[in-house]
């Protein structure tokens, strides 16, 4: 039975439950709403929740558990001689799934009857050919082990699906009956429903925690795998990055980290002065009219997707820098460079620096300005000697947040910085960053047991720790050094 039908049946049961529960409550009160404990809606909702929520929760868990159970039961059938390593085993299992899918499709199209599919013998029929005829391409000929494993896979999963469908519907009916029978005039339906809603609310807010746990766990587990295959000292202190999928790669973090930091520095050199001066002008000098035009325009820069900046770097800024600066000055002939990526990223960061600094400058109390003017300082002297020192912790925080953005930025560097890992000081040379290499090592078909793919998780963890550290530091600085004004 397809999943969608199970869900539909459960929901239909719930809907019927709502109507019946409501009716029963009304009937038990003799049609007089004043004699009920709660509003009739709550009695209906109560039955609905009892028939739907437990069933759907169990359905989710079942869907997650069933494939791995079947997987392990089928894996037992593969002889150890056929699969010597984990990689080979996963390849064989992929074949098994494809053959099983193919048989399903053959039965669905009527090319085979269900009995025939279960009794096929690899020795007698050429499975590859017959499946190929109905549009299931297989990479290699089907061995008897794979075929029998596939047949077992099919029978297990169809049995599992049947068991799932009946269990879920039975559970739903059970919940229905329980809630329905409890529905009487004095039943505290509203309290029950509100408790259930509260549980849902709490569950929703813990998804944020679950996400963080998921991020950290997935990266730590894979990173641990990586450090089993590759020495951690060589990763953290290696100065060469030469991955080769035949093995014997050099996977040193330093050149990537250097590229990342170099580009971040260039980006900050561009964005901090521009952003800060823009914020000062907007907060201190601009009239309401200028402000209402200029501020949204600058903030548009923050809403532009990074892929657009990447394209801008690739087709406009890169070639321009190469033709007008790098080549005439003899710095290199590459259009993707630290300068390209840094410049474009700097443009992207202008609004981050400016809107955060703007808020902070606006938060400096007017009395400080008035005092400074009263002593005869000009407007710019007031800004430089009174407002900026008062706003400094906040501005430092804003710059650190911008730096953390720059470190984690991906598309601009993928398209603007190049892919060559090197430790060089020339800003017109192509360099690469941590994020570029994460994309590079994980895009396309990758073998997740090789250090060349797993290194991406170690890089991701490094990135996560780095940006998280910068954020925490920024918040700490802002909190600790913020001047308290009354």
């Amino acid at each position: 039975m397809p999943l969608i039908w199970i869900i539909a049946i459960v929901l239909a049961l719930g809907a019927v439950g709502y109507m019946l529960g409501r009716q029963r409550a009304m009937a038990s009160a003799g049609g007089d709403i004043r004699r009920l404990h709660s509003l009739p809606v709550y009695y209906g909702t109560n039955v609905f929740l009892f028939s739907v929520v437990p069933a759907l929760l169990v359905l989710c868990v079942w869907l997650m558990v069933q494939p791995s159970v079947i997987q392990s039961r089928v894996t037992e059938m593969i002889p150890e001689s056929a699969a010597t390593s984990a990689g080979e085993l996963s390849l064989i299992m992929t074949d098994v799934r494809r053959v099983a899918d193919g048989l399903d499709r053959a039965v669905g199209q009527g090319a085979l009857t269900a009995d025939e599919a279960n009794n096929l013998r690899a020795e007698e029929t050429n499975i590859r050919e017959s499946l190929g005829a109905i549009g299931v391409a297989l990479g290699s000929d089907v061995t008897p082990e794979v075929l029998s494993a596939a047949q077992r896979y099919r029978s297990l999963s169809s049995a599992g699906n049947l068991a799932m469908a009946s269990a879920i519907i039975a559970l739903s009916a059970l919940g229905f009956a329980y809630a329905y029978l409890r529905t009487t005039r004095d039943f505290r339906a509203r309290n029950t429903v509100e408790k259930a809603i509260m549980a849902i609310l709490i569950l929703a807010s813990s998804i944020a925690v679950l996400t963080t746990v998921g991020i950290v766990l997935s990266m730590i587990l894979e990173t641990a795998d990586f450090f089993e295959l590759y020495d951690w000292r060589q990763f953290f202190f290696g100065t060469e990055w030469i991955p080769s999928f035949e093995g014997g790669s050099e996977l040193g973090l330093l050149p990537l980290l250097w590229g990342t930091l170099y580009i971040t520095i260039v980006a900050l050199v561009v964005s901090v002065p521009v952003g800060l001066f823009a914020a000062i002008y907007l907060a201190e000098y601009a009239g309401p009219k200028t402000r209402s035009i200029a501020k949204p325009l600058i903030e548009v820069l923050a809403g532009i997707p990074t892929i657009v900046y990447g394209l801008f770097a690739l087709i406009t800024v890169g070639p321009m820098l190469r033709d007008y600066f790098a080549e005439p000055m003899g710095f290199g002939t590459s259009s993707s460079s630290v300068m390209t990526a840094g410049l474009v990223m700097g443009i992207m960061l202008i609004p981050f620096v400016s809107s955060l600094s703007d808020d902070i400058i606006n938060a400096v109390p007017q009395s400080l300005r008035d005092g400074s003017y009263g002593l005869g300082a000009t407007h710019s002297e007031t800004i430089r000697q009174v407002i900026l020192p008062a706003a400094l912790p906040g501005i430092v925080g804003a710059i650190l947040l911008a730096a953390s953005r720059a470190i984690g930025e991906t598309m601009i560097v993928v398209m603007g910085a190049g892919a060559a890992a090197r430790l060089s000081l020339n800003p017109f040379e192509a360099m690469t960053t941590v994020t570029v290499k994460i994309v590079g090592q994980l895009t396309g078909d990758t073998d997740f047991s090789s250090p060349e793919a797993l290194v991406a998780f170690a890089l991701g963890l490094t990135l996560f720790v780095l940006t998280l550290g910068l954020n925490v530091l920024a918040l700490y600085i802002v909190r600790k050094y913020r001047e308290q004004y009354e």
């Binding site: 969608i4 509260m198 609310l201 929703a204 807010s205 944020a208 925690v209 996400t211 998921g214 991020i215 997935s218 587990l221 894979e222 521009v274 001066f277 823009a278 000062i280 002008y281 201190e284 000098y285 600058i298 548009v300 820069l301 809403g303 532009i304 997707p305 990074t306 892929i307 657009v308 990447g310 394209l311 801008f312 690739l314 087709i315 406009t316 443009i347 202008i350 400016s354 000009t378 407007h379 710019s380 002297e381 800004i383 470190i407 984690g408 991906t410 598309m411 398209m415 994020t435 994460i438 994309v439 994980l442 895009t443 396309g444 997740f448 991701g460 990135l463 996560f464 940006t467 954020n471």
Partner: protein, 447 residues
């Protein structure tokens, strides 16, 4: 007292005649102000430059050059058995259709008296897109009865010829290009003169599927737009309810304890996690652990949901906070439970703000690229996905990823396509943001 100062010349200041120090200070004041203006100018100039660069590179992607000639669909070549059975006719591959088109073009040129100096039949065929035979074949297989007739066919011109009409390919660049010769361009110009070739609006760019690296002229955004749409549906269906539920709990019910503190810190940190880390999460958990298919909108949607949640939660909490306590007090005073006061009174009043935040979150998710690269969205996909819900598990592309994959291809015509796709993306984003602004203006309420 007076003696002490009589030795030194008296400092004279005047409002009309400022002394040098005042002048210096005023100059530095003006300079400082100019720096500020220059900074704002730089920001706005960068924005304008970026938009101009993208638009000037990309607007031509919406135009396409077509060749319109009468084609004789000869029975002998297209249906050798002569029984009009589509299954038998399907044996004639696109290689069988190419000569039909080439001959039609050649004979029509001769008929029209257009000279073909220096263009041999092979070059002539190269002026028609490689996609054209496939299009004609699909047309014939769908309507077998048209075999044997002579029909006016509209075919895509090849990428280089199209580039000539858009100014990307010139006679000089053709000299150096092995894919196109100046003679072909001269012929193309003559054909355009005779009305056989024209450049007009290209709906196929928006609705059609992607095409391989050799046929940029046929590449379209249809699959990518549909994929992005599917992902947005998933994000909306998950992120809005979860985000609103989480915000209601945190803002209205949560007691002040360790657990809620952890959640709060978590949400603000999640907002700052680099997007690529969410891609790693999606790859490790949704694909490798849960076994969901690669390149599927459901996985992209789940990853983007997790990314969008903090944005929606922050916006929702702000608009819940903006509802004055008197509303809650009034509801409680009339005997509503806490839950009823929130769901019946506070939430409806906060709804415009929530919707605005959601739309902005969706716009962010729509432009996000990096995590989608890791879950396999860069794969080359030509088939349109099925309708949801099954279609959510079919491989698709996404708008921003399509931009990226086009920039990775060798043919320079793809630069134009990528910029055109970016324009489409920006149009979507601008309209979503405008919608958000309009909602805010329309429903904003000051208490």
């Amino acid at each position: 007292m007076t003696d002490a100062s009589s030795n030194t010349p008296r400092l004279t200041t005047s409002i009309i005649e400022p002394d040098p120090r005042t002048r210096r200070r005023n100059a530095s004041e003006r300079r400082f102000r100019a720096y500020g203006l220059a900074a704002i100018g730089t920001g706005i100039a960068a924005l304008i430059f970026l938009v101009i660069s993208i638009v000037s590179n990309g607007y031509t992607a919406f135009l396409q050059t077509y060749i319109t000639i009468p084609v004789e669909l000869s029975e002998q070549r297209l249906d050798p058995q002569g029984n009009r059975d589509p299954e038998e006719m399907a044996r004639v591959t696109t290689f069988g259709y190419a000569p039909v088109l080439a001959m039609a073009l050649q004979s029509h040129l001769i008929e029209q008296g257009i000279p073909m100096d220096g263009v041999n039949p092979r070059d002539l065929m190269a002026m028609i897109s490689q996609e054209a035979p496939a299009q004609v074949r699909n047309l014939v297989l769908a309507n077998p009865e048209i075999v044997g007739q002579t029909l006016d066919m509209e075919m895509l011109a090849s990428g280089r010829i199209d580039g000539y009409f858009k100014g990307r390919v010139t006679l000089e660049s053709a000299e150096r290009d092995s894919n196109v010769s100046p003679a072909q361009l001269a012929l193309a110009a003559a054909m355009a003169e005779a009305g056989l070739m024209d450049t007009r609006f290209n709906w196929a760019f928006i609705t059609g599927p992607d095409a391989s690296g050799q046929r940029p002229e046929a590449a379209g955004l249809g699959v990518a737009i549909l994929g992005s749409l599917y992902m947005m549906i998933v994000v909306l269906a998950l992120a809005l309810p979860i985000g609103v539920a989480a915000s209601i709990y945190l803002e209205e019910f949560a007691p002040k304890n360790r657990f809620t503190d952890i959640i709060e810190v978590n949400i603000s940190n999640l907002a700052a996690v680099p997007s690529i880390v969410f891609g790693i999460l999606g790859l490790a958990i949704f694909i490798n652990f849960a076994g969901l298919p690669q390149s599927a909108p459901i996985v992209g949607g789940l990853v983007l949901t997790l990314m969008t949640l903090p944005t929606i939660i922050i916006a929702t909490r702000a608009s819940l906070r903006a509802v004055p306590p008197s509303i809650r007090d009034a509801a409680l005073g009339l005997g509503a439970s806490k839950m009823q006061s929130v769901f019946h009174h506070v939430l409806p009043l906060a709804m415009p703000g929530i919707l605005t935040g959601t739309i902005i979150g969706l716009a962010q998710a729509l432009g996000e690229t990096a995590p989608l690269l890791l879950i396999g969205m860069v794969a080359f996909v030509r088939e349109f996905p099925d309708a949801p819900p099954e279609g959510l598990f079919d491989p698709t592309s996404a708008l921003p990823v399509q931009v990226f994959s086009w920039t990775q291809r060798a043919d320079p015509a793809f630069v134009e396509r990528a910029s055109g796709a970016t324009i489409v993306l920006l149009v979507f984003l601008v309209s979503m943001n405008l919608l958000a602004v309009m909602l805010r203006r329309r429903f904003e309420r000051r208490w």
